[in-house]
């Protein structure tokens, strides 16, 4: 694209630059600043002045430096080669940057997001020349990784008659693979297309959500399920395990594509993902987990304005795969850093702050972001979804702060992390009192069909027990456990068992790191059997001590580690052993 000078720098204040002498700039236009060509974006226009946020360190930029306009908004490149790549906040491939500038990131690096040299095997779709085609239509496929077959889509704004379609063969992302006669003339279509990050990609229709995203984390799937196409917030103070949960979901959930956005977080965490994911095997396909993952990394020491963009970059990539009919899950860790980037930029622009220095448009931005989640019918008539799982880092772990509060308004699922649980190393530290999921009703039919119709009642029974236990614990805190009758102490007993055996999940254990829906259900049923029959026995005079002494309980506590996901028979045997042990105990009492 033709570069033109659109004005000169007038003032530099951190990542915010004021430009003067601006005549033909466009709002949200991608610009480059100074001779080093730092990437920036125009975010305000007033008279001959423009405010530009710069995505790189502005050291050395001086008044009078030229500003170059690109004529287009900040966009991402979409096409084969995204999967398995780690990008920075404005989609520059970090591995290429490493080759170009060494271990430390230099400024003003220009490198294409998608490899221009690499050739991909393009297989044309069965489309007749002369067919009427429109945006979103699948014109061919490329095997991007072993498990992802990327569908090459017509850009959404194209509509016309297909004049030619390339034969099967090797093409680069820029080579023309189709010609479409549109109203405004003939248009060559390459495998790569561009899309501005701040605009949601169009779809045919928004669908109601109805399938759960199985994350493999028991506390989530069983107690607070999220739907495919849903939006979740995970708030928690530092050290409560937000990143651990995000990693666990990214590894084991049953989405087909994962977009992981490390937004203002630690460098070593991204390195961890980069070194671990390729080694992990996806239990569903047998391929490496990296073969379905795209990473966006804007670590906390990288420029703050690129942090603001990283969230949009990530979700646009997710939408692109959704448009091909995939179920995509986006992990955004952490959206608070993104909100803080907004605050910092807003402060530098001397805007009037609302709560705690955050700009008044914070809720709007949060809403816009989470609304890009959803289950959709694509333009080509397929179904795809984007689920967004956003971590929130409230200052001091206080959920009443603006980012948590506003996020709560726009998500329907809330996994509150609890400091007390984390301190006791109860992970995942998702609080069963504060968390909720509004997707429950939508996903219930799927669960009942998959694991049986008692799922709903089982789930509410255990949840009710957990709530009763909290009240009992308050009594215990005042008078000690001995003051309670056995029937009530048994509730505490069962809840302790449930916490140890079910809710706690060890992300580093080869078996426990994820549980299938079936395994989760059986585990829950075993614990409920203990509760129902134990409570009944106590009513008939059995002592708690005898119940607790049953040998089988030791095995129940350890079933999460010892019984493999596929080995449902072992769980059935364990359930039978529990029944027998209870039978024996009762027999003594009946005599």
């Amino acid at each position: 694209m033709e570069e033109r000078i659109i004005g000169q720098v007038n003032r530099v204040n951190g990542p915010v630059i004021e430009a003067a002498g601006v005549s033909d700039a466009m709002m949200l236009e991608l610009v480059r600043v100074g001779e080093v060509r730092l990437v920036g974006e125009i975010i305000k226009l007033a008279g001959d002045r423009a405010i530009i946020q710069v995505y790189e360190d502005t050291t050395g930029i001086a008044p009078g430096d030229n500003i170059f306009g690109s004529g287009s908004p900040l966009f991402v490149e979409l096409g084969p080669g995204l999967i398995g790549t780690i990008y920075d906040g404005i989609q520059r491939p970090l591995e290429r940057i490493l080759k170009l500038s060494g271990n430390f990131i230099e400024r003003g690096i220009r490198t294409p997001s998608l490899d221009r040299e690499k050739k991909w095997l393009f297989r044309p779709a069965e489309l007749a020349v002369g067919a009427e085609v429109s945006g979103g239509a699948v014109i061919g496929t490329v095997q991007e990784t072993e498990r992802v077959e990327q569908r090459i889509l017509l850009p959404p704004d194209v509509k016309g008659t297909l004049k030619s379609l390339a034969v099967e063969g090797q093409y680069t992302v820029e080579e023309t693979v189709a010609l479409v006669e549109t109203e405004s003339g003939e248009r060559g279509i390459a495998m790569m297309q561009r899309w501005p990050i701040r605009t949601p990609r169009p779809v045919a229709e928004r669908l109601p959500v109805n399938r759960p995203l199985i994350t493999g984390q028991r506390v989530i799937d069983t107690l607070f399920p999220v739907a495919r196409g849903g939006a979740v917030a995970i708030p928690g103070g530092f050290g409560t395990g937000k990143t651990m949960i995000q990693h666990a979901i990214a590894k084991w959930c049953d989405a087909e594509i994962i977009v992981y956005i490390g937004c203002g977080e630690r460098g070593n965490e991204m390195t961890d993902v980069l070194s671990e994911f390729p080694k992990l095997i996806d239990p569903r396909t047998g391929g490496s987990l990296m073969e379905r993952t795209v990473l966006i990394a804007n670590t906390s020491n990288m420029p703050v304005s690129a942090r603001e963009a990283s969230i949009y970059t990530g979700v646009t990539l997710a939408e692109y795969y959704r448009d091909q009919g995939f179920d995509v899950a986006v992990m955004a860790d952490s959206t608070s850093r993104w909100a803080e980037a907004l605050r910092e930029l807003s402060g530098r622009m001397e805007e009037m702050p609302a709560e705690e220095g955050f700009p008044a448009y914070l809720p709007t931005r949060i809403a816009e972001f989470y609304e890009r989640a959803g289950a959709m019918t694509t333009l080509a008539g397929q179904n795809g979804s984007v689920s967004i799982i956003g971590a929130v880092s409230p200052p001091g772990g206080d959920f009443s702060e603006p980012v948590t509060q506003h996020t709560k308004r726009f998500v329907r699922c809330f996994w509150a992390l609890d400091r007390q649980l984390a301190n006791a190393r109860h992970y995942p530290a998702i609080s069963w009192l504060e968390s909720y999921s509004e997707y429950l009703d939508e996903v219930t039919p799927w669960w009942e069909q998959a694991v049986g119709s008692s799922w709903t009642s089982d789930r509410s029974e255990i949840l009710e027990l957990l709530h009763r236990e909290v009240r009992l614990q308050q009594v215990v805190k005042l008078v000690g456990p001995d003051a309670l009758p056995d029937s009530q102490r048994f509730i505490i007993e069962v809840c302790t068992l449930f916490k140890n055996a079910f809710l706690q999940q060890n992300a580093f254990d080869d078996i426990d790191r994820y549980s299938t829906a079936e395994k989760q259900t059986r585990m829950l049923q075993i614990i409920l059997t203990y509760w129902r029959r134990g409570a009944e026995a106590i009513r008939r005079g059995m002592t708690l001590v005898r119940l607790r002494r049953m040998k089988v309980l030791q095995d129940i506590v350890k079933m999460k580690f010892t019984i493999d996901n596929e080995d449902l028979g072992a769980l059935d045997k364990l359930a039978a052993r529990l029944e027998r042990s209870l039978d024996q105990l009762e027999a003594i009492y009946e005599e």
Binding site: G60, N103, I105, E340, E356, P395
Partner: protein, 474 residues
């Protein structure tokens, strides 16, 4: 005939010319900030020199630049500057510092100038103090266990080479003693490697600096230590540059000289206060408790300058110390630090009062990198489970103690009594040790099992049967 100069030469010549240009008289002086009007175009964050009426040069950097006014932040403070007699020169380049291996064994101020009476160390490289972000793909994930000889750290919150693990302390607690002990005892088992300590003091008292120097001297490591001191009576603004100067040297030693560098920075709270001071004077919109909204990014620029790089043998391990104002862990300084660093060692005043050294609080302390650096082949195979079991049991002890304070110890169940006894032994025998005691990891784990052995075997859910068989000795 002289050949024509190329455009690059011209540009360089012009730059030199502008760097030589001197502005006499400034427009406004406010706190550490100096405002100069009508200058040539000056680059953001460029280095500036301010010469006062006595001819002394003070360094500063450009905080804000526009066609009308340039705002300078003067590290040595502005006291004694007059508006008409101050001369300002803009160097046209970012703030750099000369770093070399010869800086080890020496004492500098926050800007890297020697204050021990010796000459400026020669050689080395001239590097930008702000550094550049490390490319995440260039990082090597840290996995090497550092034995500090301190059970509360090695056993429960293991330090890993390349980690950033701060100490959250309070006034009057022995954080300096612990940091000095770590610096003395830290080693990688079975490996001899070149190590160095870079020590940055920000706004601490002379006694504290003295304590560290003495401690390094006594253990004979002083020639491997570079000290950057910006003490309590130095201009507060110098604290802003001190950690950056120190980390520039650390990066040089680690990645150009293949050394393992431990960086101790104390006290980060003073650094943050200096940042707030500048922010307030500039009239920026504050976020929490008056601290600027960019405190997180600013701290991250410091803390993220640690770690290891692929293909480089060296490493930077950071141990920042901060005193929590009013012992409040939710105060913005510890809070934001905790979000950036890879865990935290939290001190507890109550344990200190009971005479336990180091008073490391069991539950809020955490090492995020521990999981990948312990276990078979690194420490010992039972370490992960043992630590997890100790955490779980100790967490229950806390509950029992709360209960006991309400209903009285006599009313507790026998099981709860067992836990109380475990808690006492854990704190007195495992956590507590002398200020010179250097325990091996085996000794630490042994002490851990000895405390656990006070509990009934049914209570141990997180250790395996084999481990119980091997190490549990009731």
């Amino acid at each position: 005939m002289k050949s024509r100069s190329s455009p690059e030469d011209l540009e360089a010549a012009q730059k030199r010319l502008l760097a030589g240009r001197e502005y006499i008289g400034v427009d406004r002086i406010e706190g550490p900030l100096v405002f100069v009007r009508n200058t040539h175009p000056v680059g953001y964050r460029d280095l500036a020199e301010c010469v006062d009426s006595k001819g002394e040069t003070r360094l500063g950097i450009v905080l804000d630049t526009s066609t009308e006014t340039v705002v300078l932040q003067i590290f040595a403070g502005t006291s004694g500057l007059t508006m008409p007699e101050t001369h300002v020169r803009f160097r046209g380049e970012p703030h750099t510092v000369q770093v070399s291996e010869r800086m080890l064994g020496r004492v500098f101020n926050g800007l890297g100038r020697p204050i021990d009476g010796g000459p400026s160390p020669a050689g080395g490289e001239e590097l930008d103090v702000n550094g550049r972000p490390i490319n995440p793909t260039a990082r090597e994930y840290p996995r090497d266990f550092i034995q500090t000889g301190i059970s509360a750290i090695d056993g429960m919150n293991t330090l890993i080479r390349g980690q950033k693990l701060p100490i959250f302390s309070g006034n009057g607690l022995p954080h300096n003693t612990l940091a000095a002990q770590v610096a003395r005892q830290a080693r990688i088992r079975g490996q001899e490697s070149r190590f160095a300590v870079v020590f940055a003091a920000m706004g601490v008292k002379h006694d504290v600096a003295r304590f560290f120097i003495d401690s390094f001297e006594q253990s004979g490591v002083l020639e491997n230590v570079a000290l950057f001191l910006s003490l309590a009576d130095d201009p507060s603004i110098e604290r802003l540059i001190t950690p950056r100067t120190a980390l520039t040297l650390a990066e040089y030693l680690a990645f150009s000289r293949d050394m393992h560098v431990l960086v101790i920075m104390t006290d980060m709270s003073n650094y943050c206060e200096a940042l707030r001071e500048v922010s307030t004077i500039r009239g920026e919109i504050p976020s929490r408790k008056g601290y600027p909204g960019y405190l997180y990014s600013d701290l991250a620029e410091i803390y993220e300058r640690s770690g290891m790089l692929k293909g480089f043998p060296g490493s930077i391990t950071q141990m920042p110390i901060l005193t929590m104002p009013n012992d409040d862990i939710s105060h913005p300084i510890p809070d934001l630090t905790g979000y950036i660093t890879e865990g935290q060692i939290v001190f507890e005043r109550e344990m200190h009062a009971r005479g336990i050294y180091p008073p490391v609080a069991g539950l809020p302390s955490l090492s995020r990198l521990m999981k990948d650096g312990i276990g078979e082949g690194m420490t010992r195979e039972d370490h992960p489970h043992l630590a997890s079991q100790l955490f779980a049991a100790y967490s229950y002890v806390k509950d029992v103690r709360n209960l006991a304070s309400v209903i009285g110890e006599e009313e507790l169940t026998p099981l709860d009594h067992q836990y109380l006894e475990f808690g006492e032994t854990f704190e007195r025998k495992f956590v507590s040790q002398s200020k010179t005691e250097d325990r091996t990891i085996e000794e630490t784990l042994e002490l851990g099992w000895r405390s656990l052995s006070l509990l009934a075997v049914e209570e141990l859910h997180r250790v395996s049967e084999e481990e119980i068989e091997k190490y549990y000795r009731p």
